[in-house]
Amino acid sequence: MIEFSPNDHRVPEEFTNLTEKNLAKLAARPLPAGDTLRFIFTGDSQQFYDEAEDLVTSVNKLPGISLLVLAGDIADFGLAREMKWVDEKLRRLTVPYVTVIGNHDLVGNGQPTYQHIFGALNYSFVYGDTKFIMVDTNGREYNFNGTAPDMPWLRSQLTSLNGARRQVVVCHVPPTNEDFDPALRAPYVQALREAPNLVFEMNGHNHSYTIGQPYNDGVTYVNSDAFSERHYMIVTVWGDKQFRIKRVAF
């Protein structure tokens, strides 16, 4: 409570390194090889605490879900208290959740705050037959300096499936948006087009649900609802890159 600044990111230990802790929880509930994967996809929880509570209640009623994926903008102002408040809601999920950083999480001292509370800005993990690549695409927050998305890192991630059968890229700002680094748009789209067994690219930021192939190159882009839209998606993936998406109101 003795807060040195709103940018002060001291939080109790239980609210630090959440990515690592949540991935450990996920690893403790392995999905047998060959099994279909079902997960919840949502984004933009920023300042929507009432909705977060209802979302958790709704998701906890669903059987057969492995995890929840949150596509960034966890906080609205890049503040530690906000990230803690969102975690206080989402830790009540019966399944683990994972996040990718959004532009609002990077405001002010949001970057070290996110790293302290959640963890890496770019990371990947394999669950069952699916590799998830979580990448920071919030180019505008870095003044379009060519570092976000980190293309060398992303390319190397996309090259190897690490034993998985298929892969998914999750980010916050989609390449179709003006907040994506314009110099990296074409290389990003191309890297995704060439990636083996990419099921789809998933992003948030727009606060509205869309599924489409904006570049007509066979790559599907899925945009999540924000918490405020009171909808999430149940995503089912199987085979090399088959998927089904069901949108659920809560």
Binding site: I2, F77, G78, Q111, P112
Partner: protein, 210 residues
């Protein structure tokens, strides 16, 4: 941390020396009259921690309207370890304390101080370069904060300065506060998504009149 604390302590000790001139002062004024205070000379010094205004915040303040109204100007410091970058904060506090209850001869209790603050933070990592965003991309300011305060204090009345008859006092205080962003988050969740206690910050401090 040590780098900053030292000058602050030095400043405070210098100021306290200045505030207690030796009793051998030649021009001893008649009892009850006080030498003219220059208008700009602060009435008190303050040192506090927390309240969103610094790990350490030090400054000075003025009192008006029979000391019921106060305004403090504080410079605060947050080490990089706690915020990701070294922050310096400039803050302005306005406070109103309607009652002062004597407790014995040497103490006073100020049960309620209400107020507001305004602070500017220097040193944040990503705080809007020119042209980074279109106007109103973010509706809030990264570095400018304001919020309400509510606190209490206990004052120790020290014997007056012998040379001048100037009263002296030292107060310890606490303040509960919040800021515009926490309050906005609360107001946008009217179904109990956030508890009021989750918005609060605590400051502890000491003030010395001189």
């Amino acid at each position: 941390m040590k780098k900053l604390l030292l000058p602050v302590l030095l400043l405070a000790s210098l100021a306290s020396q200045a505030a207690t001139p030796p009793d051998t002062s030649a021009a001893k004024p008649a009892a009850g009259t006080q030498p003219e205070r220059p208008w700009y000379r602060p009435k008190h010094l303050a040192l506090q921690t927390g309240g969103g205004l610094g790990m350490v915040a030090a400054g000075a303040g003025y009192e008006f309207s029979k000391d019921r109204l106060e305004t403090d100007i504080l410079i605060g410091y947050v080490p990089k370890h706690y915020a990701g970058s070294t922050l310096s904060l400039a803050s302005l506090k306005f406070m109103y304390s309607p009652f002062r209850l004597p407790v014995g001869e040497k103490f006073q209790v100020v049960p309620i101080t209400v107020g507001a603050y305004f602070s500017y933070t220097h040193g944040t990592i990503n705080d809007e370069l020119k042209g980074q965003y279109s106007s109103d991309y973010y509706w809030f300011s990264t570095d400018t904060r304001y919020g309400p305060l509510l606190g209490s204090r206990v004052t120790f009345l020290a014997p007056p300065v012998a040379a001048t008859g100037q009263p002296r006092k030292i107060s310890v205080y606490y303040e509960l506060g919040s800021n515009d962003l926490y309050l906005a988050s609360y107001l946008n969740n009217r179904n109990g998504g956030l508890g009021f206690g989750q918005l609060l910050t605590l400051a502890l401090g000491v003030k010395a009149d001189f």
